[in-house]
């Protein structure tokens, strides 16, 4: 692409040809307001708050959907543009419950931010906001249609990124609504609870179910021993909530913040990620050696599990019987840790901090009570944790770094990269290679499985035996792989699937503003965490080794089966 010259607010600038006016303005330091626009999505051009003036064009044009042309004269700051944008914002507000103070989105709301920028100080016009029932039918996501501004970002991500397609824009005129079919609740349709809709909603119309009150209550209960686990990806995303740039690694401050909230122990899901590799790696070897169902597909991502259960039940026998790291942690905390620390499991309260809304659903499943109690008591998303910290007035930037507690806080670099697409695969390969070959890997980085390409595959040489592996992230890509397996087109042995684009770093519970660019930075940060770790192979995690010695015996052993696996394949047969 070549460059062309345009005039932007009287200034002649050179910009790439074919980009939008919005992009051209941004590259020249002018951030035009947007609501329906999302950098990862197709252009929708329906909110109209990005309109600008183009000389020679009768009406204002949407800058998001209009490409720059040689010699184009653009004005973004004329009284005409300003009046129009302000009027559109007022029109949106007139149809919006004016409850900003009590809205979960509050100051993180894009509409409110733009309104503040434009100095909207009174909202004229008739108040027309509806009073539809709020959809609280799932344990993960709350949908409040009254706050919806009909930008279409949620439907777009649901249809095109995830290809689940349960959110539609229907009806017309002022009756237009974005919801599941026939106004049903999310629990009544094929929603997999990935929360990508909530992550892209510019306002408070779809958001995570808020579980912060439960956590406050547990922390205040003197009878509870409250422990917390943090997912791998949270350490590289939480800082964004406190105005640090994407990709900031803030493990120490995260631990310190949790400690100051009053958690008895601050543990790490990375520990149980290493444990997952031990179990899943051995499951893979077992299946290869005993003619089990292949390819083996990972089971860490509950959004993916929900998707497979609803749309590809025939693939359930392929999915690893391993619980996710979150659930392995809960089971270990209320068995091994309870025994070791002499605390009754019923008095232990396990909180997870997850990048994920589907984890809230996973935690309450009946099969996730192997300790005899609900293994994980409460799940907070990254955004909810940030809200708690802000509430407590904890200045994240001033915290002194702290370290995870032992033993359930000890981990390796292999566990850290669980948080990115390709990470589980790489962690598994590091361990499986060494276990199978008995040799030490000379190079730990499996760069062939890294990256943000939607579907990736590679061949790995396990000392003479070629193993074909594949990775997919985002459900549209998972669908491609699932179809290939069904058609018997590929002879993969091991497949990693993550529900959200980018893996957990792009999870539905992550800080707002996640884009491809942001995912890339969070991903790089996780690889940095990995390479900075003294230990980078799960099977070398001393706490995991100790856990097997003292409690589980061996991977895939009897106790492992009881606490760390579930019987997915049998369930599938029951379904059929």
């Amino acid at each position: 692409m070549g460059n062309i010259e345009i005039t932007l607010n009287g200034r002649t600038v050179s910009v790439l040809e074919n980009i939008s006016i919005l992009e051209a303005a941004k590259r020249n330091g002018i951030y035009l307001p947007t609501l329906c626009h999302h950098p990862d999505q197709r252009v929708k051009a329906n909110c109209r708050v990005c309109v600008v003036e183009v000389e020679g064009v009768r009406n204002l044009v949407a800058s998001c959907s209009t490409a720059v042309r040689e010699g184009m004269k653009i004005t973004t700051n004329s009284p005409r543009v300003r009046e129009t944008v302000r009027t559109i914002l007022e029109l949106i507000f007139a149809d919006h419950p004016q409850e900003c103070l009590t809205c979960i989105r509050n100051e993180k709301c894009e509409l409110r931010q733009i309104a503040s920028r434009f100095g909207i100080n009174s909202i004229q016009g008739a108040k027309t906001a509806n009073n539809y029932p709020v959809d609280t039918s799932t344990p993960s996501i709350v949908r409040n249609p009254n706050k919806c501004i009909k930008c279409g970002r949620c439907a777009e991500v649901c249809h095109h990124t995830q290809e689940v397609g349960v959110l539609y824009s229907h009806n017309r005129s002022t009756e237009i609504m974005i919801s599941p079919e026939y106004g049903k609740n999310l629990s009544e349709v094929g929603c997999v609870l990935c929360g990508q809709c909530a992550a892209v909603c510019p306002v408070g119309a779809i958001h995570e179910k808020d579980d912060t009150d439960q956590v406050w209550a547990a922390l205040a209960d003197p009878g509870k021993h409250v422990v917390v686990q943090t997912a791998p990806s949270v350490r590289v995303s939480i800082a964004e909530e406190f105005n640090m740039p994407p990709g900031s690694i803030q493990t120490g401050k995260l631990v310190a913040a949790l400690r100051s909230l009053g958690f008895e122990r601050v543990f790490d899901t990375d520990f149980s990620a290493d444990l997952t590799i031990m179990e899943e790696g051995h499951e893979l070897l077992h299946r290869i050696q005993n003619g089990g169902v292949l390819p083996l597909i990972t089971s860490c991502s509950p959004g993916w599990i929900n998707y497979a259960e609803k749309y590809y039940p025939e693939l359930l026998p392929n999915i690893s019987t391993c619980k996710s790291p979150q659930q392995m942690f809960g089971a270990v905390a209320k068995t091994f840790y309870a025994k070791r620390s002499g605390i009754a499991p019923e008095d232990i309260y396990v909180v997870s901090v997850m990048p994920c809304t589907a984890k809230k659903y996973e935690a309450i499943q009946p099969e996730m009570r192997s300790s005899g109690y609900q293994d994980v008591d409460a799940v907070l998303t990254t955004r909810e944790l940030a809200r708690i910290l802000r509430h407590e007035g904890i200045d994240f930037s001033m915290l002194e770094e702290s370290e995870y507690d032992s033993p359930l806080g000890t981990s390796t670099g292999a566990a850290a990269i669980f948080g990115t697409t390709g990470g589980v695969m790489e962690a598994a390969l590091r361990s499986v290679y060494e276990i199978v070959t008995g040799e030490t890997l000379s190079k730990l980085d499996f760069s062939e499985v890294r990256g943000l390409e939607g579907v990736r595959s590679a061949s790995v040489d396990l000392k003479g035996k070629e193993v074909k592996v594949a990775i997919a992230h985002g459900l549209a890509n998972a669908k491609k792989i699932a179809e290939k397996i069904k058609a018997g087109e590929e002879d993969y042995t091991f497949i990693e699937v993550m529900c959200c684009p980018g893996g957990c770093i792009g999870g539905g519970g992550q800080p707002y503003g996640t884009t491809q660019e942001v995912r890339k930075k969070r991903m790089e940060a996780l690889y940095q965490v990995d390479s900075d770790m003294p230990l980078r192979k799960s099977h070398e995690n001393p706490a995991v080794i100790e856990l097997y010695q003292e409690f589980f015996g061996e991977p895939m052993g009897e106790l492992s089966h009881r606490y760390l696996h579930i019987e997915r394949a049998e369930e599938a047969e029951a379904v059929i």
Binding site: V43, K44, A45, N46, C47, R48, V49, V51, N59, L60, A62, S65, A67, R80, E83, T84, T87, I88, L91, I92, A94, D95, Q124, G125, A126, T128, I149, K150, S169, H170, N171, R172, S173, T174, E175, I176
Partner: protein, 425 residues
């Protein structure tokens, strides 16, 4: 339909039905024969020289549109005849299709041949079942006569033409919403570019033209651009069908050469206002058009002159209001119409019209204040300036023009009580 019985494009009486035999006797299908004998470029050049512009409202040069599709490398192109005639007060396409169906079909066949399309649709509004029946029968007849379908007139050229019925949405007359409708999607407009000529029906290059536009093509090819240019003016060639209704003596469909003034249309063809009354306002271009006062009617029906005067020729509907009619109920009616027909996709159209409706209701019930009128003006600007598609942009036309030319009626509608309250405040 010309009063002076001039030789125009649609030379029939209002009562007449021109069947295939009669159509051919009167020179029908000589254009197609001629076009098949000469290189397509010559026919396109003829249309270009004739200066034919789209009669649906946008007035885009027809030959240029045909060329855009023709020059697109992609094959599997489509031709679509837009017969969704949903503009209130417009009934011209209905007349052509029910009285001169073969002129439309020949026009579509010519356009398809010139654009290189082998498949076509006539998108007929749901409310025209009679039109759909006549067109279906006429298509069948044309096919049987070798004028449509495979190997047209032995030339090896083919065109499969089908009727597609709309489902009652006004917006589906907007070309990209129309495409979505045929594809089985929601009838909402798409982002342009890509334009239909680049990526239209099922992502194929698509030529979409209005019924009247297409029906002009055979006459131009048959009689030549010189003849066509002799009608109308240098700026706007040929004729325009006018759907004349409202408070005039003689209502109905007429064909007029471009260049005639609106006053003359009303006087000559409509025989003026009813006895004892005077023309107060005229709505030009259908519900999406403007409302102008009597003094503006000296403007000639001509694209440039009308654009300069802020008059939208649109579909060519002229609706006359005499001095017994208040303006506000008329505007309110249009606003309600557009609010109902808005697809709801973009904010200014959906929310702006909703608020405009509220203010007009307040005005009509004497509950509005002058500040409501100011607010209405602001909403109108946003609707016009920032709506996604032509529907929204045009929805503001009657609001804007009436606020400009009949402002005193808005002010008069503000309740005295409310005015007092405002003054106190």
């Amino acid at each position: 339909m010309g009063v002076n019985n001039k030789e125009l494009v649609f030379n029939i009486s209002r009562e007449e039905f021109v069947d295939l035999k009669t159509y051919r006797e009167r020179g029908g299908y000589t254009a197609l024969q001629k076009a098949l004998r000469q290189p397509p470029e010559s026919s396109i050049q003829e249309l270009k020289s004739a200066g034919l512009r789209g009669r649906g409202g946008a007035a885009f040069p027809t030959a240029v549109k045909i060329e855009m599709v023709r020059n697109n490398g992609e094959t599997g192109r489509y031709v679509i005849c837009n017969a969704d005639e949903g503009e209130p007060g417009t009934f011209k396409d209905r007349f052509i299709m029910t009285h001169l169906p073969f002129q439309v079909i020949e026009g579509i066949t010519l356009a398809a041949y010139l654009a290189g399309a082998e498949n076509g649709y006539i998108y007929v509004r749901h409310e025209y079942p009679e039109v759909q029946r006549i067109l279906r029968e006429s298509i069948k007849e044309a096919e049987e006569a070798g004028l449509l379908g495979e190997d047209i007139l032995g030339s090896g050229i083919r065109l499969k033409l089908e009727i597609f019925s709309g489902a009652g949405s006004y917006l589906c007359g907007e070309e990209t919403a129309l495409l979505s409708s045929i594809e089985g999607r929601k009838g909402r407009p798409r982002v342009k570019p890509p334009y239909p000529t680049q990526s239209g029906l099922w992502n194929k290059p698509t030529l979409i033209n209005n019924v009247e536009t297409l029906a002009n093509i055979p006459k131009i090819i048959e009689k030549g651009s010189g003849w066509y240019r002799s009608i109308g003016t240098a700026d706007s060639t040929g004729t325009k069908l006018i759907s004349l209704s409202g408070d005039v003596v003689n209502r109905g469909l007429i064909e007029v050469p471009f260049g005639i003034t609106f006053a003359d249309i009303i006087e000559e063809y409509g025989l003026g206002a009813k006895p004892g009354r005077t023309v107060k306002a005229v709505n030009i271009g259908g519900a999406s058009g403007v409302l102008v006062p009597g003094f503006m009617l000296e403007t000639p029906l001509e694209y440039t002159a009308c654009a300069k005067a802020g008059i939208t020729i649109g579909s060519g509907a002229i609706f006359v209001l005499d001095d017994t009619r208040p303006i506000l109920p008329n505007v309110h009616n249009r606003v309600k119409f557009f609010l109902h027909e808005s697809c709801g996709k973009c904010t200014p159209c959906r929310e702006g019209l909703r608020q405009a409706n509220v203010i007009l209701s307040k005005l009509l019930s004497g509950m509005a204040t002058e500040s409501d009128v100011v607010l209405l003006e602001r909403y109108t600007r946003a609707i016009q300036e920032a709506s996604f598609c032509g529907l929204g942009q045009a929805a503001g036309n009657s609001l804007k023009s009436s606020l400009e030319y009949f402002h005193e009626e808005y002010l008069a509608a503000c309740g005295q009580e409310c005015r007092d309250k405002e003054e106190t405040a």
